[in-house]
Each structure stands twice: as structure tokens, then as C-alpha cells.
């Protein structure tokens, strides 16, 4: 068991100028499940591979526990990459499948048996140890494969998009299993995914990267309720937050025909560079469907309704510009997402009217895109995040 520390670690590929990973500072606690997430090309896999020893660290260093592993060969780092694709050997017993790699490392027989039995216990495979893989179900085989990594008793597990080639149903099932197993083992784990839902459901903490730069680290709930900047706000949460730029008059933002009152902290945080604009974000659940003549309401023309059983979401166009500075950044210009009552969904082509729930707006600087408030914005969907 060990902590992992990235200390201003950078990776600059030969022949490129912009670092693929730029001065990453990240401390991962002993036993923690940390998820690196971001869009493709953000540097998450490169960061993981730097820790594995597969990518050089061009600047800065990486520590596992107190040990500087920056220039240590992968096999000497006491780290295990966990694949989704371990081969199981059909003619060897489950115990041999799990333990044979230890023989290569010259571990003595008694110790191998001991470790295999311990791993089998955790994986509920004890009674199958002397059988062949053929006699096992799919789920059990998968656990045998995990067992191969577990018996090595590494300090850290690394997983790079391990669920990417599973179908949707199996992905959901397997991600719960991996998270549960990690908690049982208590081994520090770094997990890479591009899928923010996977990140929110699995990680103790999430680190969001973009263009090689760490944007924010926090618990799933912190990421959802207190995104540090516009990118994180738009990336975390599904469906995505509605984000757009608005004109500020006095202490309020002008939203269509109405005004949204801004907190003192927000107004005080604005600078001349913002040119009187502010970026506000509203989660789909922060918009209420109201009667057409309600004060402050604005219309949304329904393009698509996504019904998920317990929830329904309207993907719509805003015919009158709600935002005076006009660039609505989510889902293309002039589009917005509204959560509606699943028992009363509008039809495609209908116009619905919505208002913004008071106090549920996230405010970001128009010039720096950074968050202007420190407190969390809780919506009624917040409490399910990371639960």
C-alpha cells in the first residue's frame, strides 16, 4: 500500500512543443481510488503511463510512497497494470492461472499458494481453485484474471479504460464490481476513463484534465456542486449543464426578459476584462417548466425528448435570444436542456416555458472562465452523485 505523488511532472513528446502533460501536481492517498478523466487527448492516459514507467517524465518527478520512481523501469516499480484482456490458459487450474506469474518472479511455492488462496477468498473463487477455467462462468473467469494482478500484491493498481470494449450493460455491472473489489482490497488505484459517468460512480476522487493541464481534483460531489471552471462545469454531469454568457446590469444578469440576481461575491469578483459579461450555468434540473405567462419565463422549442423512466429531458432551441451576448455554449448555439416531469412530456415541436430556480446558477468569469463563488450549488440531483 502506498501513496502516489506527481510532483510537477511533465511529458513532452519529442518534436512537439506543447507538453502532453503539463506540470501535473497530484497527491493520491494510500488506498484511494482516483479517476483521471477528460476528453480524448487531454493527457489522462499519458499521466497514467508516466506512473507505470511507459512514458518518460521529462520534467518533475513521480513518487510511489517515499520512493522516487521517476527513472525506474516499469517492472521494478511495484505497480500492476490491470488489463481487461488477460488470457486464461485452458489446461491449467484456476490456481495455476492465478499464480504462475509469481513463479517467474521466483516466489517460493508455499508463498504462491498462500497468496493465491488469499486472493481466491476475496474473489469468492476458493472452491474453484483446482478446476479448469472452462468450468467457470464468465464473471468468475473475469475474477480469475483480476486474481492474476492481485496475487502480485502491488503497491498500486493502474487501469486504463478497462471497460472500453464491453457493451453498455456489462460495463455498468463491471464498474460496480471493480469499485467494490478495490474497496475490499484497499489498494491504491489509479483509473483512466473518458466517461464522466464512470468517473462519478467509481472514484473516491476525480481529477479532470484538459490539454495536459489538471483542471480540478475533488470528490464526485465537489465536482458536481462546485466545478472550478467552465470546462469542468460542462464536462461533469449528464446531461450537461447549460452554459451561456449574459450581460450584467447592476447586480443582475439579464436573462431574456427577466433578471437573475447575482450574489455580492460574484459581482465583486468581476473585473474590467469581463467587459460587463458573465457566464452562468444551470443544470437541467434547475429549470422549472411553468405556465407561459409566468414572469421571467422564457420559451424553449422542443427538438428531442429523452425519456429515461425516472426522468425526462427536453433538448430544445431557444427562439428568442435569452443571452444577450448570445453564445450558448452547450449543445451548440441557442440550445438548452431542461429536465421535465416524465409523466407529462411535451411533444417534439411544442414550445414549453421555463424559469430558473433561484440560487441554482453557477457563475464564472467571462474572461478567465473561473468560478466566482466558493460555495457549492446543490440541486436535487446532487445527492445522487457518487452515491
Amino acid at each position: 500500500m502506498a501513496t502516489v505523488t506527481y510532483d510537477k511532472a511533465s511529458r513532452i513528446y519529442p518534436g512537439t512543443e506543447r507538453p502532453a502533460v503539463d506540470a501535473l501536481d497530484l497527491s493520491i492517498a494510500d488506498g484511494e481510488f482516483l479517476v483521471l478523466v477528460g476528453p480524448s487527448g487531454c493527457g489522462k492516459s499519458t499521466s497514467l503511463r508516466m506512473l507505470a514507467g511507459l512514458e518518460d517524465v521529462d520534467k518533475g518527478s513521480i513518487f510511489v510512497g517515499d520512493r522516487d520512481v521517476t527513472h525506474v523501469q516499469p517492472k521494478d516499480r511495484d505497480i500492476a497494470m490491470v488489463f481487461q484482456s488477460y488470457a486464461l490458459y485452458p489446461h491449467m487450474t484456476v490456481a495455476d492461472n492465478m499464480g504462475f506469474a509469481l513463479k517467474i518472479a521466483k516466489v517460493d511455492k508455499a508463498t504462491i499458494r498462500e497468496r493465491v488462496e488469499a486472493a481466491a477468498k476475496i474473489l469468492d473463487l476458493t472452491e474453484y481453485l483446482d478446476r479448469k477455467p472452462k468450468a467457470l462462468s464468465g464473471g468468475q473467469r473475469q475474477r480469475v484474471a483480476m486474481g492474476r494482478a492481485i496475487v502480485r500484491q502491488p503497491q498500486v493498481f493502474l487501469m486504463d479504460e478497462p471497460l472500453s470494449n464491453l457493451d453498455a450493460k456489462l460495463r455498468v455491472q463491471t464498474r460496480t464490481q471493480i469499485a467494490a473489489l478495490q474497496r475490499r482490497l484497499g489498494t491504491t488505484t489509479v483509473y483512466v476513463t473518458h466517461d464522466q459517468v464512470e468517473a462519478l460512480t467509481m472514484g473516491d476522487r476525480i481529477a479532470v484534465l484538459k490539454d495536459g493541464v489538471l483542471q480540478q481534483v475533488g470528490t464526485p460531489r465537489e465536482m458536481y456542486d462546485t466545478p472550478a471552471n467552465v470546462f469542468v462545469a460542462g464536462f461533469i454531469g449528464s446531461p450537461a449543464m447549460n452554459l451561456s454568457t449574459f450581460r450584467v446590469e447592476g447586480d443582475s444578469a439579464v436573462v431574456g426578459d427577466s433578471k437573475v440576481k447575482l450574489e455580492r461575491e460574484v459581482v465583486a469578483g468581476m473585473t474590467a476584462d469581463d467587459k460587463g459579461d458573465i457566464i452562468l450555468g444551470f443544470r437541467p434540473e434547475s429549470l422549472d417548466r411553468v405556465a407561459p405567462n409566468t414572469p421571467g419565463a422564457f420559451p424553449v422549442e422542443v427538438n428531442v425528448v429523452e425519456e429515461l423512466g425516472s426522468d425526462a429531458f427536453v433538448y430544445g432551441t431557444l427562439p428568442t435570444p435569452v443571452a444577450s451576448a448570445h453564445d450558448v455554449t452547450v449543445g451548440g448555439s441557442g440550445e438548452g436542456i431542461v429536465r421535465v416531469d416524465p409523466r407529462d412530456v411535451p411533444a417534439k415541436g411544442d414550445t414549453i416555458w421555463v424559469t430558473i430556480r433561484p440560487g441554482e446558477q453557477h457563475a464564472f468569469s467571462a474572461s478567465t472562465q473561473k468560478r466566482l463563488t466558493t460555495h457549492a450549488i446543490q440541486t436535487d440531483a446532487s445527492r445522487t452523485v457518487g452515491a
Partner: protein, 493 residues
């Protein structure tokens, strides 16, 4: 309509893309990999060739396709990616997995086809050597494999050696240049996988217990390291520099590599020269042979053919001075007649260049026995009569990779529940059917007595009576077992 990317061959559209691969009609199937797989893989007959079709998700299929094409462009030894098929919709309107189509490499052998209890010890070593050469070539091209193993490669006979080809690039990555961490990790994975594969062969008594898997693992590592340093090492010369430089280049040529560029730098004190090969390309001999004769063969075959060509020139020196003219003479009077002498029905056994290599070997034995030179036509006739008919057909040996035989993960589709069928191990099983496949031998190849049980799909009779019943019983038993296992399994870890 399915969407096909990459293929030049429009007739690919005719394949039944609207049917899940696992249910493709028998007449299309050239061989059926059995058991569970990470993906469904089938070998399919199409327009006289054999295609390997793999169902996987769209992104993975495109990624692997691009990677294989890029590797091919770099002349790396790998299978040819034919197409990616997407937008497959079944008759009932369900969306089906995307498919990656690759061409089966003719005359290639999966490693399991080369193992039997009578395996020559040398064969395993030659396979490991071929794999280490493949790994070096891929690493020189900046390819990190991520899952090196005997089962993820195919082997072709290459004179008295084997050449290895990359089959599965799914786990790989292309980089500008590999770090030493990537190389050493790839090597570590290779060692572990190969030891696992050998232990598995031994567990099934397919391989002599006397062979030490750990030594084989070490062999891979030492072969790889030796070749890698020969190709990339910096050397410092301080005397007789031009000679030493040309010696280094010659040594690399001898190993089958062309040196495209050398980095030369004087040492700080100015007395010596540091040299390091900067661009090396595999295929020194095959390129030379191609230039001289237009023959496209593998490296060791080319070496053998070039030796024969050189011999031919030496004998005919009085008549033919010019190298390319001699090459043309050799091609039309020696090589082509030999290859054409192979009757049509025996042509599926070995590639032409391999046949030529074996005829040369055969001639050597005849000459030794007769204590005098044996002309090529005589040697060829004897070979066709006595040796070749006993060789197995190797043009399309379709083995099952280890991944196909075992579940690495549960099969990842709904199909998982039904794809697990117990079958008669000999039915439609090409690898076992070979009995012992002789290694490319320095002695007369042994006789293969057991006839192949592989029946070409179109002629395959439906299972009748007893056989069919036994098959069905076995399948039911397997299902029952599987259900039991599934029931006893709890919902999570």
C-alpha cells in the same frame, strides 16, 4: 445497408452482414473457432481467399484497422486489414456490432499447429527467435504491442527458420519513438505470456515436460536484447575507422537489416568516432532479391535463394558477368522451372520459395548419398515424388488463438449465453488434425501419416445419427454446467 470502409473489393457487400457473425451460414465458414472469445471471430471464405472477421465495437475496429494499415505502410510484418464494416442492421432492425475484416495470411501457421508430442526441440526455439525478431522490428517502427504472445502472432516457414507476423493489434499503440520503459514492459508481458502458453501446453501434455518454460522466457529476452543493441548501439572507433564502419554495416546486413542512415560524431577529444545506426530497415536480403529478380519472398528464403544465385553466377562466370543478367538467367532456367514442376494439386502445401528451399535441401541429401552432383531437374522430380506429397497442406491452416479458446472476459455480448458449445474436439479442428507438422528440417522431413480430418465447408455433410446426438448431448451438458456455475455466482465480487 452496411457501411464498409477500406475495402477495394465491392463484393464484400455480398457477405451476410445483417446476420450476427456467430450465426453465419456454414457454407461461408472456413473454420470455426470454438469456445468463448473476447470477440466473436470467424474465418470466412470469400472469392477464393480466406478472411478473418472479428466483431467488436466501432471505435476499436477503426482504431485497429488504422493501426494495421499504418504498420503495413511501414512494411512491418502484420496481417493485411481489408475493411471495417459498420451500420450493420439485422432483419429485425437490431443494431449489430461493427466488424474488422483482415485477410488470412497464406501459408501461415498458428503456433499450436506446430506443437505435438514429437515436437522437435528446435522448433520452439525457432518460434521464439522469430517472435523476438518481430518484436524488434515493431519496436523500431515505434509500435508498442501491449499483448505479445505466441497466440497473437502467426508464423510462416522461412527457409529453415520461421518468420513471425503480428495478428492482433488491438492492444497496441504507435509512437514516434518508444521509450525504454515501453520496450522493457512489452518484453516483460511477452515473457509472462509465453511462459503461460508453454506451461499450458505442458499441462495438456502437448509439450515435453523436460522443456523448461523459464529458460524459453529468458531466451526471448536475450535474443531481443542482442538484436536490439546490435541495431541501435553506439560504438566508438578510434582506429582504422572506414574499415570498422563498413564492418558494422556489413554485420547489420548479415542480420538482414539495411542501414539507411548512420549517426557519426567525433569524440570530444577528436581522436575517435561514435557511430550509431539511425535508420535501419528489415529485409536486406528480400529487397536485394526483389531488385534482382522481382521475387517477393521472406528474408531467410531470400538469403537462401541469393546464395543459390551466387553459386550459379560463380559457375557461369565465364559466360555471364553482369549480376542482373545472371539473375534473370537463374530465374528463368533454375527457379521458375523448379516451381512450375510442382503439380497443381500439390501447390497448396508450401509457398513457391519454400518449395525451392526444400528442393535445394533435398538435392544436397541426394548428392551426398550419390557422392556426386545432382542436377536440379533430377532433384526436383525426386522431391515431388518422395517428399512433397507427404507434407501437409499449409496454405490455409486456421487455428484458434488462445483468446478464442478461452474466455479472457466473458464474451461481451448477449451472445455469451449461447456461444459456448461443447464440440467434438476433432470435428472441424485444423490444428489437431495435423498430427505432427514437421519442423523445417535439416534432415528429411518425417512422414505425416494421419490424414487431415478437415473437410472443406461446402462438402461437409450434416452430422448424422449417432454423431449428431453425441454432439447435442455434449452441448446440453455444457449448458447445464454453465447454468449451475452462473447460479452459484453472487451478484458482485
Amino acid at each position: 445497408m452496411p457501411h464498409i470502409t477500406g475495402a477495394v473489393d465491392a463484393s464484400l457487400m455480398e457477405l451476410p452482414w445483417e446476420i450476427p457473425l456467430s450465426a453465419w451460414p456454414e457454407e461461408r465458414i472456413a473454420a470455426l473457432p470454438r469456445g468463448l472469445s473476447r470477440h466473436v471471430v470467424r474465418f470466412v471464405r470469400h472469392n477464393g481467399t480466406v478472411l478473418a472477421v472479428k466483431e467488436t465495437n466501432r471505435e476499436i475496429a477503426y482504431r485497429e484497422f488504422e493501426m494495421l494499415r499504418e504498420l503495413e505502410r511501414m512494411d512491418a510484418p502484420c496481417v493485411h486489414a481489408v475493411a471495417v464494416v459498420t451500420r450493420r442492421i439485422s432483419v429485425s432492425g437490431d443494431e449489430l456490432s461493427a466488424a474488422l475484416v483482415t485477410e488470412h495470411l497464406a501459408y501461415s501457421l498458428p503456433y499450436r499447429a506446430l506443437f505435438s508430442t514429437a515436437l522437435r526441440k528446435g522448433t520452439l526455439n525457432r518460434l521464439i527467435d522469430a517472435l523476438s525478431v518481430l518484436l524488434v522490428k515493431l519496436h523500431l517502427n515505434g509500435f508498442y504491442w501491449g499483448d505479445v504472445s505466441l497466440s497473437n502472432a502467426l508464423f510462416r516457414r522461412d527457409a529453415s527458420e520461421f518468420s513471425a507476423y503480428l495478428v492482433d493489434a488491438e492492444t497496441g499503440d504507435l509512437h514516434e519513438q518508444l521509450t525504454s520503459g515501453q520496450r522493457s514492459y512489452d518484453l516483460e508481458i511477452a515473457t509472462t505470456n509465453i511462459i503461460g502458453e508453454i506451461l499450458d501446453l505442458q499441462a495438456n501434455e502437448d509439450l515435453d515436460e523436460g522443456i523448461d518454460p523459464f529458460k524459453i522466457g529468458d531466451r526471448l529476452e536475450s535474443k531481443y536484447s542482442k538484436l536490439w543493441s546490435a541495431l541501435t548501439e553506439t560504438e566508438v572507433f578510434d582506429s582504422n575507422i572506414p574499415f570498422r564502419v563498413s564492418e558494422r554495416v556489413r554485420a547489420l546486413n548479415e542480420m538482414g537489416f539495411d542501414v539507411g542512415e548512420l549517426d557519426m560524431l567525433s569524440t570530444p577529444d577528436g581522436t575517435g568516432l561514435r557511430i550509431r545506426p539511425k535508420v535501419v530497415d528489415a529485409g536486406y536480403h528480400s529487397r536485394r532479391l526483389m531488385r534482382l529478380t522481382g521475387l517477393d519472398v521472406q528474408e531467410n528464403q531470400a538469403r537462401r535463394l541469393l546464395n543459390d544465385l551466387d553459386e550459379f553466377r560463380a559457375v557461369r562466370r565465364d559466360v555471364i558477368e553482369d549480376e542482373s543478367f545472371a539473375a534473370h538467367e537463374w530465374l528463368t532456367t533454375i527457379f521458375e522451372p523448379t516451381v512450375r514442376a510442382i503439380p497443381r494439386e500439390l501447390r497448396g502445401k508450401l509457398e513457391p520459395a519454400q518449395v525451392f528451399h526444400e528442393v535445394l535441401d533435398h538435392r544436397w541429401y541426394l548428392a551426398e548419398a550419390a557422392a556426386e552432383d545432382v542436377p536440379m531437374p533430377v532433384a526436383t522430380a525426386s522431391y515431388v515424388k518422395n517428399v512433397l506429397p507427404l507434407r501437409p497442406d499449409e496454405r490455409a491452416v486456421l487455428g484458434r488463438s488462445l483468446a478464442e479458446m478461452t474466455a479472457e472476459l466473458p464474451a461481451l455480448t448477449d451472445e455469451f449465453g449461447t456461444s459456448f458449445e461443447a464440440r467434438d474436439p476433432f470435428e472441424n479442428d485444423n490444428t489437431y488434425a495435423w498430427g505432427e507438422v514437421p519442423a523445417p528440417a535439416t534432415t528429411e522431413p518425417p512422414v505425416v501419416r494421419r490424414a487431415t480430418t478437415r473437410i472443406p465447408a461446402p462438402e461437409r455433410a450434416p452430422l448424422s445419427g449417432e454423431l449428431a446426438k453425441r454432439d447435442q448431448d455434449a452441448a446440453e451438458a455444457a449448458h447445464a454446467e454453465q447454468d449451475d456455475a452462473a447460479e452459484s455466482e453472487e451478484s458482485g465480487f
